[in-house]
C-alpha cells in the first residue's frame, strides 16, 4: 500500500474527531470482512485474523494483530505505527487500556471487538462507531479521488468480465479471469459476486461450477479497490441474444437507476434516492420486488469498505453531503426474467452528483 500521506491525513482527521468528542483512546477493530475502521486508524488493510488499533488524540497508534503472517506485512505496509503480535488480542488490548490509567475510551465498531476486550476492559468502553462513521462517510477530496480511480478500474474490469462470460464457461472461471486481470493492473482487492441463469436466480453469490448457458442473465457486482478505496459497478449481460422480455425488463432498471441518480444532491436523504428508485418499480406494478423479500438495499456507501454507510433504503434518513460516495443500484428480482443488476458509483458534489462509472447502461448481449 502506498497510502502514507493519505493514511496520515486520515489519522489526523480521526484524532481531531476524538478531541472534539473528548475520547482519549480509540480502539479501531478490523478483519478482512470489515476492515475500514482499522484501516482508517492504522493504514493497514488486514487480510488474515483480526486486528485492533489503539489510537490516542496525538495520533499515536499501536496495532495488535493475531495472525503471525500478517506481522511482516503490517510492518512493511504501514509507517509510523507500532505493530504487535498478540494471540490473546482481546485480553492484550484490555491490558493496554488498563495501563493507560483512567481515560475515556471508545471502540469502533463496538459490536465486533473481541468479547474478551469487553469482559476485561478497565472500565466502560463507549461506542465510537458513529464518530468514526462520520469520518468514513465524509471523504476528503483525496479520498474521493481514489474512489473515482477505482470506478475507472471497475469500468475496465467489466470489459474483461464481458469477454470472459462466454457460453460454456463456468462461473468461477469467469471470476478467475477478472480477478487475474485486476492483479495485472496492481489492484490488490476486489469484492465480487456473480449469478447466472433465469427465474431460478434470486441473488448473487460467490462463483459456482455452473456453466453459462445461452439465454442466461449473467449478473455481477464488481468492486475493485484503489489504495483501499472501493468503487462498484453492477451490470447484467445475456449469453447469446437477449430476448424482448429481458430487454423490456431491463428498461425498468435503467429508468430506476436514472431516477435514483437524479435524486442525489446535497441536502437530500438516502431515503430520497431509494424512494426514487423504488417508485419506478411501483409504477410498473413491481412494488413487491423492492421489499426485503427480494432485495437488500438500493445502494450503499463506498470507501474503505465495499458495503459501507449510508445504506440506500427508504428508512435511512442520513443526509447526503458533498464528499460522500456510494453506489446507486436498483438490483432486484424480476418474476419474468430473473434477478437483474444495474448500478453506478457516484459522489455528492456541491451542486448535485458526479457519476464515476461510465459503462453504458444497456443490457449487454452476445451481439454487443
Amino acid at each position: 500500500m502506498k497510502t502514507t500521506t493519505l493514511g496520515k491525513e486520515r489519522r489526523t482527521k480521526l484524532a481531531a474527531a476524538m478531541t472534539a468528542n473528548s475520547i482519549e483512546v480509540l480502539v479501531a477493530y478490523g478483519n478482512a470482512w470489515q476492515g475500514d475502521y482499522l484501516m482508517y486508524a492504522s493504514d493497514f488493510p488486514i487480510l488474515e485474523g483480526h486486528g485492533m488499533a489503539v489510537l490516542t488524540q496525538d495520533g499515536t497508534c499501536r496495532l495488535y494483530l493475531d495472525s503471525a503472517s500478517e506481522i511482516d506485512r503490517a510492518t512493511a505496509e504501514t509507517t509510523g505505527i507500532e505493530v504487535r503480535f498478540s494471540r490473546q488480542i482481546g485480553r492484550d488490548v484490555a491490558a493496554d487500556l488498563k495501563a493507560r490509567g483512567k481515560v475515556r475510551m471508545a471502540a469502533a465498531p463496538l459490536g465486533f471487538v473481541p468479547f474478551a476486550l469487553i469482559e476485561n476492559a478497565p472500565g466502560t468502553i463507549e461506542d465510537g462507531t458513529p464518530m468514526v462513521d462520520l469520518c468514513l462517510m465524509h471523504k476528503t477530496p483525496a479520498e474521493v479521488d481514489r474512489v473515482r480511480k477505482a470506478a475507472q478500474t471497475a469500468d475496465e474490469a467489466y470489459v474483461i468480465f464481458r469477454q470472459a462470460a462466454q457460453e460454456g464457461r463456468k462461473q468461477f472461471e469467469v471470476v478467475a479471469e477478472t480477478e487475474s486481470w485486476l492483479r495485472s493492473r496492481g489492484v490488490a482487492d476486489n469484492f465480487m459476486l456473480i449469478g447466472s441463469g433465469g427465474t431460478d436466480i434470486y441473488s448473487v453469490t460467490p462463483p459456482s461450477n455452473r456453466k453459462l448457458a445461452k439465454g442466461d442473465n449473467v449478473i455481477t457486482e464488481l468492486t475493485p479497490s484503489i489504495e483501499g478505496y472501493y468503487a462498484q459497478i453492477c451490470r447484467t449481460l445475456v449469453v447469446g441474444k437477449a430476448s424482448d422480455a429481458q430487454k423490456r425488463a431491463y428498461d425498468i432498471y435503467i429508468e430506476a437507476l436514472e431516477a435514483g441518480i437524479a435524486a442525489v444532491k446535497p441536502g437530500a436523504r438516502a431515503s430520497d434516492v431509494a424512494k426514487a428508485e423504488n417508485d419506478v418499480f411501483r409504477k410498473y406494478d413491481m412494488g413487491e420486488y423492492v421489499t426485503s423479500a427480494y432485495t437488500r438495499v438500493r445502494g450503499h456507501g463506498l470507501g474503505l469498505f465495499a458495503d459501507s454507510k449510508p445504506h440506500i433504503l427508504e428508512d435511512v434518513q442520513i443526509e447526503l453531503r458533498p464528499g460522500m460516495t456510494f453506489v446507486v443500484h436498483p438490483n432486484t428480482y424480476n418474476p419474468n426474467v430473473g434477478y437483474m443488476m444495474l448500478g453506478d458509483s457516484v459522489t455528492v458534489t456541491e451542486t448535485g452528483c458526479e457519476v464515476f462509472t461510465t459503462t453504458p447502461r444497456v443490457l449487454f448481449d452476445g451481439a454487443a
Partner: protein
C-alpha cells in the same frame, strides 16, 4: 470476501466425514461437561464451522449450534435469499436467519437448554462482543470450548488430508505458472492468482518480496513494481476450507544452486518436525496449522514466544528464511509432521 469457488463436494467430503467429526466433537464436549457447543464463523475465522459442517460464509457471519444430540442449527446473518446457496454448501438442515445472530442464537439456546446447562463457545475470547453479550443472556454457564474443539480436531482425518494435498498442488501449480524471468511484479502476481482460481481455489492471497536482498518481507502488491534478480512469491491457497501456503524464491542466474541448497536444508528441517532444532538454526521460521477458527494459526516460530504443541502426524504449513552464501532464500510449504514411524515430509515439494 471469498471470491473463489465455494462448493460442498460430497465426493471429497461425504456426510459420513461430518458425522464422524460431530461425533468426535460430542465426545470432547462430554469430557468437558459441555451441553451445547456454539461455533462462530465469518469468512476471516471460518475453520471451526467449516470443519463441522462444510459451511464457509463468503460474507457476513453465522453461528453454528451443536447440541449434545440431534440436528445442528445454523443462525445466519446472510439474507434469507441466500438460503439455497447455504443449503447447497452446508451439512445442516436447520437454517435460521436474523441480521443479529447473537440474540437469535441466544433464543435458540434458551428454548433448548434446561436451567444450569453449560454452553461451550469455541474461541469465546475472540467472538464479536455483540454475540458474546447476547449469549450471556441465555442464563447458562458460558465456558470457553476451544480446548475441546482442538481435542476433537487434533487427530485429523483422511478427508482433511486429501484436501490439504489438493490445496498444496494448487499452490505449487500456481507458483509454477509465472515466468521467472519476468520483471513486472504484477504479471507474476496475476499469473499465480489466475492459475490458483482457475484450478478451483476457494481463495488465493498472493504476497511478494520484489527484492529479497533489500527486504524479505512478503507484501500484498498495490500498483506496479519491478522485480529484482532475487525475489520471492507466496501463494496462500484455500480449498474447501483447507488452507496452505507455499513460497517460491527466484534467483536469476542461480549458477551456484542457492535455491536448491536452501530447499535441501528446508526439507531436512521438515523431516524432523515436530523437532525444531534445524528451523531454529535458520534466520527465521513460522509454523502454522489449523486448530480452531483461524484457518492458519501460528503454533511455533522464531517470533512466537508461546509455542503450541505441534501435533505428531498432523499437517502444518511451514515458512522459513535461510541465507545461503549471502542470499536470503524464502521457502514455504505444507507438510506432514513425523509420527507413527514416518518422517515429516512435504505434501507437495516446493521445487520448480
Amino acid at each position: 470476501m471469498r471470491r473463489g469457488l465455494i462448493e460442498w463436494s460430497k465426493t471429497e467430503l461425504p456426510e459420513s466425514v461430518f458425522d464422524a467429526r460431530i461425533a468426535a466433537m460430542r465426545t470432547a464436549m462430554a469430557a468437558s461437561n459441555i451441553d451445547t457447543l456454539v461455533a462462530y464463523t465469518n469468512f476471516t475465522r471460518p475453520s471451526a464451522v467449516s470443519w463441522l459442517c462444510s459451511f464457509i460464509p463468503y460474507w457476513s457471519e453465522c453461528a453454528l449450534v451443536v447440541p449434545k444430540s440431534g440436528p445442528l442449527s445454523m443462525v445466519s446473518a446472510v439474507s434469507p435469499r441466500g438460503k439455497p446457496w447455504i443449503q447447497s454448501t452446508t451439512y445442516s438442515d436447520n437454517l435460521l436467519f436474523s441480521p443479529k445472530i447473537g440474540p437469535e442464537t441466544a433464543r435458540v439456546l434458551k428454548e433448548a437448554l434446561p436451567s444450569g446447562a453449560t454452553v461451550g463457545v469455541v474461541e469465546l475470547d475472540q467472538i464479536p462482543a455483540a454475540v458474546g453479550l447476547a449469549l450471556k443472556t441465555v442464563g447458562a454457564k458460558l465456558v470457553d470450548a476451544t480446548d475441546a474443539f482442538v481435542t476433537a480436531r487434533a487427530g485429523g482425518d483422511a478427508a482433511g488430508s486429501a484436501l490439504a494435498r489438493i490445496a498444496a498442488g494448487f499452490a505449487h501449480d500456481a507458483l509454477a505458472a509465472f515466468d521467472p524471468s519476468a520483471t513486472d511484479a504484477t504479471a507474476v502476481v496475476a499469473a499465480v492468482d489466475l492459475e490458483a482460481r482457475r484450478l478451483g481455489a476457494e481463495e488465493s492471497y498472493v504476497a511478494i518480496a520484489v527484492n529479497v536482498r533489500k527486504d524479505r518481507r512478503l507484501v500484498r502488491l498495490e500498483g506496479p513494481a519491478t522485480l529484482a534478480d532475487e525475489f520471492a512469491v507466496r501463494a496462500t491457497i484455500a480449498y474447501k476450507g483447507t488452507w496452505v501456503r507455499m513460497v517460491r524464491t527466484v534467483v536469476r542466474n542461480d549458477t551456484q544452486g542457492l535455491v536448491a541448497k536452501a530447499t535441501e536444508q528446508f526439507a531436512a528441517a521438515v523431516a524432523e518436525l515436530p523437532k525444531l532444532e534445524k528451523f531454529a538454526a535458520m534466520d527465521s521460521y513460522l509454523i502454522e496449522t489449523a486448530r480452531t477458527a483461524q484457518p492458519l494459526d501460528a503454533v511455533a516460530g522464531s517470533a512466537i514466544t508461546q509455542a503450541q504443541t505441534i501435533p505428531a502426524g498432523g499437517l502444518v504449513t511451514v515458512q522459513a528464511v535461510t541465507v545461503v552464501d549471502g542470499t536470503p532464500i524464502l521457502l514455504g510449504a505444507p507438510a506432514g509432521v513425523s509420527g507413527a514411524g514416518k518422517p515429516g515430509a512435504f505434501l507437495v515439494a516446493p521445487t520448480f
